[in-house]
Amino acid sequence: MADITNQSLNEIIENVKTKKVSSSELTKAYIKNIEGAKKLNAFVTTTFDLALDKSKKFDNKPNFDQLLPGIPLAVKDLFCTENTKTTAGSNILNNFIPSYESTVTKNLWDNGSFLLGKLNCDEFAMGSSNETSYYGNVINPVGDQLVPGGSSGGSSSALAADLTPATIGTDTGGSIRQPASFTGTVGLKPTYGLCSRWGIVAFASSLDQAGPMTKTIKDCAIMLEAMSGFDEKDSTSINKKKEQYSKNLKDNIKGLKIGIPKEYRVDNMPKEVDVLWEKGKKILKDLGAQLIDISLPHTKYALPTYYIVAPAEASSNLARYDGVRYGYRSKQGKDLIEMYEKTRSEGFGDEVKRRILIGTYVLSSGYYDAYYLKAQKVRQLIKKDFDDSFKNIDAILTPSTPSSAFKIGEKKNDPVSMYLNDIFTVPVNLAGLPALSMPAGVDNKGQPLGLQLIGKALDEQKILNIGYAFEKNCGFKNEIKKWWS
């Protein structure tokens, strides 16, 4: 049999169900891949013994009716996993072992899968290149000098390198979609409230959403189905009937109206991104969709708004790391206040500190109205742009990122140029909408680029269907040479 890991999740599930491969064989194959891929630095923690044990248990008493029967999965190290270290890519949580399981990971395990390991990410999910992690850079399997995107960079790297059959990430401003675009994989940020935030290390609570990262659209539908659902432990969780995204996947998109926003053509965007966007439009048009020019006039204000709202919420969320109850505590500090200050100074990295300071400043007395309140008002305008447009269309097609993966170190010393990477992904988080990044082609360096489909709130099925039809007609194949092993 050929490489059992170099396949889609859906194919792997079929192979398990038809007993072409056992859960133990599958798990061992992934462990072998992971051990040979240390150069990528995609993992912070591995849980091989646990995975082997679970796979044996599955093989002894298989249940093939589950969505993810006997499937080993690695997840971003931002999801709390019971009795397994959870770091959020930070020194301040270097020794944190949760006594509880996040709802989203629990949902995955309840559907038959089990944990293979925890994936590297930018510290507290703050970053677009995985360079802010305390545990070091992650390398993009596409090329040894390239970042895998961020913040879910360990997730995208591990997925593209066949170190996990599928994975999950979190997306506050593009942290699922941008790394998916950089690695030629699929990433979906669901509607705010579709996946529970309970047990996920918080960054910006009004923006954070967990979502699937997969090789194909069908895989994405399977994972979303497994991980989503109402949770009374998250007060912003939406109480609605569970959808069967994979069963309801259809590739007929005839008559659907696809909006093309003129504001997503930005200065200095490489020509290839534009060419790819044109290609995407043509594919959808040839499949019978109708293209409609739209305007989202406040798009350029999305990033400045985000860099007020997200740091403000982060400064509040990260106040809990004080060295008292869990996590790192500085050995210095003569009194309580000094202990706090030293702990936070030594425990957090530079980007996290920068954002806490921005957040503290914009919320501080005398500046709140000028910054935070202003941002909340502009956020309303950004949401209204989408609401107005969606009266006449079914979905929106845009590029996912303004460029393909950049080199390690290239943007590290210029925070604003790093932030600009999220220019096409951030508006969606501010409006709480679902959006999908799907691989669409390569640039002139041969590096993958993605296109983004944005849907109405809770319209995940429709953007998955459009993606499914697109994927069948796009002809993209992710050609990754395994140079690291």
Partner: protein, 95 residues
């Protein structure tokens, strides 16, 4: 507006993060470039716009004020950096 070093030290104090004197310079430069970027928002007139405080079309649920969890002191103390049997331990705060 621009942030000077004193302002940044004050904000760091509010955020309970000690900042090395050597790093204040580069931090000031970074934060000023970020604020210059953020202040594009001032181009927009938002006088008649309501602030968006929740993205959901539903109000936050509340639950009954019943005890649903508890008696897990051991679990909770397990991750504390310095512990005794029953409490979190911090540097001395009262003489």
């Amino acid at each position: 507006m621009s942030l000077d070093k004193e302002k940044i030290k004050h904000v760091a104090k509010l955020a309970r993060i000690s900042v090395d004197e050597a790093k204040v310079e580069s931090l000031t430069k970074d934060l000023n470039s970020i604020f210059k970027f953020i202040e594009q928002l001032n181009e927009l007139n938002t006088d008649k716009v309501e602030p968006l405080t929740s993205i959901l079309n539903q109000s936050l649920r509340s639950r009954k004020d019943d005890i649903s969890d508890g008696k897990i002191r051991e679990k909770i103390l397990k991750n504390s950096p310095k512990e005794n049997e029953e409490f979190f331990v911090v540097p001395k705060v009262v003489e």
